[in-house]
């Protein structure tokens, strides 16, 4: 069996938030040995709600720190900093989300780390980055989501039709912070790739930048003269469609997909209108098409329309609840979850990774640290 992709690489993460932890989680799941460095009270992530029922175990901590080991380090004391320095000296990558203003006192600033660990890849992960006018700004998920643009643009489609006067709604969980974490993992591995030529270096990640990167098309459209908003951005037809027993997502971008959809609908007379033969015509009459589609889907079950539609190459998906994802046969086949020991909560399935290597899922080294 092949080695885990990052076998032999050592990572230290000093994380109080989701972004830094998610960066380390990805590297750990890819095979790096990852140490979570915590203060005496433990990482603040351990106190992040919600908690697993009947426990004081944070769901975010348990999910994000699975596969890591943990060590306690007192960075406020000289002895503690020396011990921590010895850990960094044995490591390849250090990921840190300490606010910039607090770093020097803890020996975690860019200059100190670079002077003591010339080959270390030092990754800073902050809401607005370590450089720039907003480097000191505080940012929780909802703030960086709105600072990066996507916050202003959600929701779309059915929700905006139902609740036109409501404020924008956030994406569940820590979407933008996890973009920061992914950018940090990419930055760490890219800098590590160049280490033979360049030695260690400082990688400065901003969750705002990362959120903006994944929302880049809105900036592209601005260059075309179009300022997007959450009402205009809705698909002209399709989107979230209610069935008799749940919701499906429907999106037909290509002609053959429209042809498949018409066949799925039973080749109704309205769909034979020559004006609907091309995508421009369908775009103009999207609201009318939606009325027909919604009426047809509302009388049918999700599984029925998804199975029949996908056979006709119509992009259709069930809106899965978390329980349905956990029970899904496809994900069981793919090994998306691995049962691990979660302290105080027992054996539980924890999500592993969206990556397979050479036909096999990755393997978590274990559950979260006690």
């Amino acid at each position: 069996m092949s080695l885990a992709p990052l076998a032999g690489i050592k990572v230290v993460v000093h994380a109080s938030g989701v972004a830094a932890a998610y960066a380390a989680r990805q590297l750990a799941t890819l095979g790096a040995a990852c140490v979570l460095a915590e203060g005496g009270e433990g990482s603040p992530l351990r106190r992040e709600a919600p908690f697993l029922p009947g426990t004081q175990i944070s769901a975010a901590f348990a999910s994000l720190c699975a596969g890591m080991s943990a060590e306690t380090h007192d960075l406020a004391s000289p002895d503690g900093r020396a011990k921590f320095g010895a850990l960094l000296a044995r490591s390849d990558i250090f990921i840190d989300d300490t606010p910039v203003a607090d770093r020097a006192a803890l020996g975690l600033d860019e200059q100190t780390i670079a002077s003591q660990h010339a080959d270390l890849i030092h990754v800073s992960v902050l809401p607005y980055g370590a450089f720039g006018a907003k480097a000191g700004w505080k940012g929780e998920e909802i703030n960086v989501l709105h600072a990066s643009g996507e916050g202003y643009l959600l929701p779309n489609g059915l929700t905006t039709e139902l609740f036109p006067g409501r404020p924008p709604v956030k994406i569940y969980g820590h979407f933008t912070e996890m973009q920061g974490g992914t950018a940090a993992a990419l930055g760490a591995l890219s800098a590590l790739w160049a280490r033979p030529e360049l030695g260690g270096q400082f990688v400065d990640i901003s969750c705002q930048d990362a959120g903006l990167a994944v929302g880049a098309f809105a900036i592209q459209r601005l260059g075309d003269g179009q300022v997007e908003d959450r009402y205009e951005r809705s698909f002209r037809f399709g989107g979230v469609i209610e069935c008799a027993d749940g919701f499906v997502e429907l999106l037909t971008l290509e002609q053959r997909q429209w042809t498949g959809l018409v066949e799925l609908l039973g080749n109704p007379e309205w769909a034979q209108d020559p004006d609907l033969a091309d995508s421009a015509g369908r775009s103009r009459r999207g609201a009318e098409i939606n009325r027909h589609i919604r009426a047809w889907f509302l009388e049918r079950r999700v599984d029925e329309v998804v199975a029949a539609g996908q056979k006709l190459s119509v992009p259709l998906a069930r809106y899965y609840t978390p329980d349905e994802v956990l029970a899904d046969a496809h994900e069981a086949h793919r090994g998306l979850f691995q049962t691990v020991a979660v302290p105080d909560a027992g054996e539980l399935p924890v999500i592993v990774s969206p990556y397979h290597f050479d036909g096999a899922p990755l393997v978590l080294a274990g559950g979260p640290p006690a």
Partner: protein
């Protein structure tokens, strides 16, 4: 120095998710050779009126900095030409439906035969195996399958579809996996077939909810609320469609917020925000140590000095000589300040002199013959 300067990618990806992965790598220095044909150009070179637009507005943002060649993969000679390109590459990347690349004669085993340590990146909606692996999908479907979209929305409303951010999220994750495979190749000499499932990327982003559900909890749509934080939400400010996001985590922040706005209820906060400019209100709260930021429109983002100083927003040149704002690679490297976009979107086949001439050593006569036979087409 751009960190990935020595990496070459034969890029068969189309649409968004796969191209965004290689777009990130290109900004970090990898040489990305995008493969299309006049018969089957990337669908995102074409307009998509389902979005209500007539122009190919989305292509540039995932194609800048790449090189472009034409190869007609419907012809055996085209497949052979593609293999010649793969043989001089470190990575091949694709985002067809599972099985399509193999049916073209370019599956992992076929590519290994011409380049034993090749890393093949496959990005798809549902992965390369499993009962749903043949399913077609786009970004909103990834979020639906993965559970993230069902959890997003108002408590009394339907789920909310994820848009192209879901494609790009998948692409950035794919870039991470690809780099991991390259590190393993460096350590062991082994290539890899890296399989990234977009729906599983969506699941990763709600991993805590999935664990909570597995433990007997009931995660659900909760609008703008966040457990453990409060006040927490989006509040109306002065002007049409102007909003301020506020998130309070500690008791100290709570006290400061109350001092500033005169109360802690949503009504009290809105009474304060609705008479203020969103950016000014954010600055007041940040000065007091409270996490707040205006809900920014794209013009505000494009003009922001902080984002420009970080090169998260950059100016790129248009063919006519004008410039426009574009989004850079989301990182700053102390020893690679030049990372980012360095050239615009390639025209179809723009770089064939370099790729076919210099890189593959194809002479003029052979190249003309391939063009006449509609292999380079």
């Amino acid at each position: 120095m751009k960190p990935l300067a020595a990496i070459r990618v034969a890029d068969f990806t189309v649409h968004n998710a796969g191209p965004f992965a290689t777009h990130l790598l290109s900004q970090l220095g990898a040489e990305i050779i995008k493969i299309e044909s006049a018969m089957r150009p990337d669908a995102f070179r074409k307009p998509h009126p389902v979005y209500g637009r007539e122009g190919p507005a989305t292509f540039d943002q995932v194609s800048a900095t790449k090189l472009s060649v034409r190869i007609n993969l419907k012809k055996p000679e085209g497949v052979a030409l593609a293999k010649r390109l793969v043989a001089v590459s470190d990575v091949a990347a694709e985002s067809f439906r599972a099985g399509v690349l193999a049916r073209l004669g370019l599956g992992y085993e076929a590519l290994k035969a011409v380049k034993p340590d090749i890393v093949l990146l496959s990005v798809s909606s549902c992965g390369q195996d499993g009962p749903d692996s043949h399913f077609a999908g786009y970004a909103p479907l990834f979020g639906a399958w993965g559970g993230l979209s069902d959890l997003t929305g108002f408590a009394d409303g339907p789920p909310v579809e994820m848009r192209h951010v879901m494609d790009h999220t998948c692409g950035m994750h794919a870039a991470v996996a690809l780099m991991a495979a390259l590190h393993r190749r460096r350590a062991t000499g082994e290539g890899a077939h890296v399989d990234v499932a977009a729906r599983e990327v969506a699941s990763m982003l709600c991993g805590e909810a999935l664990l909570l559900s597995a433990a007997g909890g009931e995660p659900r749509r909760m609008g703008n609320a966040a457990e453990g934080l409060g006040p927490h939400g989006v509040f109306a400010c002065m002007g049409e469609e102007r909003w301020l996001s506020i998130a309070v985590r500690s008791d100290a922040e709570l006290t400061k917020l109350e001092d500033i706005v005169g109360g802690l209820s949503d009504e009290a906060i809105t009474a304060w925000t609705c008479t203020r400019d969103a950016n000014e209100a954010a600055a007041i709260l940040q000065a007091a140590g409270i996490a707040a930021h205006a809900s920014w429109t794209t013009p505000e983002i494009a003009a922001d000095p902080h984002l420009r100083a970080r090169r998260a927003i950059v100016e790129v040149n248009e063919p006519g000589g004008s410039t426009r704002a574009a989004v850079g690679v989301p990182m700053r490297l102390s020893k690679g300040p030049e990372v980012g976009i360095h050239r615009g979107t390639p025209q179809l086949g723009e770089d064939e002199d370099y790729v076919y001439g210099e890189l593959l050593g194809i002479g003029r006569n052979e190249r003309c013959a391939l063009e006449d036979a509609e292999v380079i087409y």
